[in-house]
Symmetry: C2
Subunit: 153 residues, 2 copies
Amino acid sequence: MATEPQESATRLAAETWESLFRTQVAVMRKLQTGTAFKALPVNEYDVLFNLSQCPSGWLRLNELNDHVLLSQSSLSRMVERLEKRGLVERTTAPEDGRGVLLSLTEAGKELQREVGRSHVRDIAGIVKPALTPAEQRELRRLTDKLRASLQHR
Amino acid sequence: MATEPQESATRLAAETWESLFRTQVAVMRKLQTGTAFKALPVNEYDVLFNLSQCPSGWLRLNELNDHVLLSQSSLSRMVERLEKRGLVERTTAPEDGRGVLLSLTEAGKELQREVGRSHVRDIAGIVKPALTPAEQRELRRLTDKLRASLQHR
DNA sequence: CGATACTAGATGCAAATGCATCTATCTTGG
DNA sequence: CCAAGATAGATGCATTTGCATCTAGTATCG
C-alpha cells in the first residue's frame, strides 16, 4: 500500500459509502421512470410503507421521522395532507399529550398495497438480472449490519 | 420453501433493495447531523462532487442530471444559483448549440475539497466501526455490480 | 434543401421543503 | 409543589422543487 493503514481504511470506508449512495441514486432514478411512482411521490409512499410495517399499526410522528429523509416540519405537513386525503389517521398519544400517533386508514392500506405491488415488480426487474440470489442475500446482510450499527448508539 | 421459486426470488430482490434503501436513509440522516452538511446542502454538495470527479473538468448538464436525484428544471436552477455564487462556470457546448457545459471554478473546487474532507471523516466514523475491511470491499463490489447493470441498458 | 420530429435547457407557476420560532406538554432539581 | 429546562409538534415565511410548457438548436426523411 502506498498510504498509511489509517488513511487507507478511511478511504475504503468513503469509497464504500460512495458506491452505496451512487447505486441508490441510480436505482431510484430508474424506479421513478416506472409505473409505481406515477401514482404517488416517493416520499409519500415511504411514509405509507413505514406505517404499514409498524406491528401495532400506530407510530409516533417523531419515530416516523427517524425513518424518512424529511425535516420535522415537512413531515408534519405531509401527514396533514395525507390525513386530508383520507389515507392516514391522527390521534393524540394517550401517555403524552404532546405526541401524535399515526396509522393508515383502510384506503391508505389499500393504496400502499397497490403501489407496493407495482413497486416490487419494478425492483425485481432491476435487481434480479444484476445479482445472483446469493449475492443479494450477502448485500442484504451487509446493509442490515451497517444499519444495525447505527441504531445501537 | 413455502412459496414458488419465482415469487420468492422476487421477494428476495425487494428485500435486498429495501435494506439498501433503508440503510441509505439511516446513514444520510446521521450525516446530516454532522458538520459537513451544515456548510452546504446535500444536493449542492452532490453536484459539486460530481463535477469534481469528471476527468475533463467539464460535464454536460444532462449528463450531470443522470447522476443526481433532481428534476431537469430543478438542476437547471440550482446550477444557475451555484454560478451566481461563483462556484460553477457555464459555457455553451462547442459541438451542440443547445447544450451547456459545466465546470467548477477555483472557489468551487476549494469548497468541494473542504466539505469533502469533513464529509469523509463523518463517513469513516460511521462505516469503520460497522463493517470489517473485507465486508466493506464486498459491499462495494456488490453495489458497483448492481449499478453497472443499470448503466449497460 | 426544407418540413417535421426530436433533444437540451429555460421559465411560469403552484406545491413542497426547511429554518426559525412558537405553543403546549412533560421532566427535573430545589 | 413550582420554576427552569427539555421535548413534540405546529406555523410563518422565504427558498426550492417539479410539472407543464416554451424556445432554440439539431437530426431525419422526403
